[in-house]
Amino acid sequence: MNTKLNTLLLLLGKAFIAISFLCSIPLAFILHLFVGYNVSMATCGTSLGYWLPLLGSLTLGFMLCVLSKHTPKHIPEEPLDIEHSPLTVTGGIITLGVVLIIVILALIFFIIGIYYAFFSEYMPIVLPICVGVGIVSYLLYIGWKCYHQFDNESEE
């Protein structure tokens, strides 16, 4: 039902949603110029007085859009799914970012660990432990191989 009211409601709702995300640059200066609401750029990321109007704008936008009964002009053949959404791209970017953080931090800490273990004052403690563990593991490995060889010979 595309009456003018429904289209206007939808347009207003979408505008409110867009405004709520255009945080620091446009909205802060508009508020400062026209309303006199002083938004310090140093604290605009944390002050509640800055966040709450944006949250209000977002909620109002969502409510107006939900209230509107506008139907799309071009109805797609298949119903739209999340797979059709461009948000899959941003979701992929976030996943890629998290994987990148984990991989790079793990690599850096591995290198730092190697440095602390073998090239710092802890070396006289860590090196004998590593050599000892290595020798014991090798002996255990040889024993395990011999044990299985003995098993195979007895079966034959």
Partner: protein
């Protein structure tokens, strides 16, 4: 079968599947993700003290930006599910202007994320 890989989004990035608020939300998500990745990787080492190896607060600042990005992505998903799927795009021809607004939102969210990092590291 439809491809769902990140790098084969020909259908997802169709102009009829885009909208100005969606572009603005995408700009914010990308910006939070980029600032989160950079500050998570470099923050812990830049903010470390004189005899410290690692600053947990620096890592927290970066991860908070990633969290903001996930929050904005959730809002975008809600917008897609409850508004865009029902009403569609009113004027797809205006998406070029929406791209400009998306870049504006990207810069805004970058400032917001950087301020949040400074707050967590120095003032909290």
């Amino acid at each position: 079968m439809r491809k769902t890989s990140v790098f084969s989004k020909g259908e997802a990035l169709s102009i009829t599947h885009l909208d100005i608020p969606l572009l603005v939300i995408m700009g914010a998500v990308v910006s939070f993700a980029i600032s989160g990745v950079f500050s998570s990787i470099m923050g812990p080492f830049i903010e470390a003290g004189e005899n410290e190896l690692f600053s947990f607060r620096g890592l927290l600042a970066g991860l908070s930006n990633i969290g903001l990005g996930i929050g904005a992505h959730t809002i975008g998903w809600l917008y897609w599910r409850f508004i865009f799927c029902r009403h569609g795009s009113i004027a797809p021809r205006w998406n070029g202007f929406g791209l400009l607004l998306g870049i504006m939102s990207l810069l805004s969210a970058l400032i917001l994320g950087a301020n949040l990092c400074f707050y967590i590291v120095y003032e909290h």
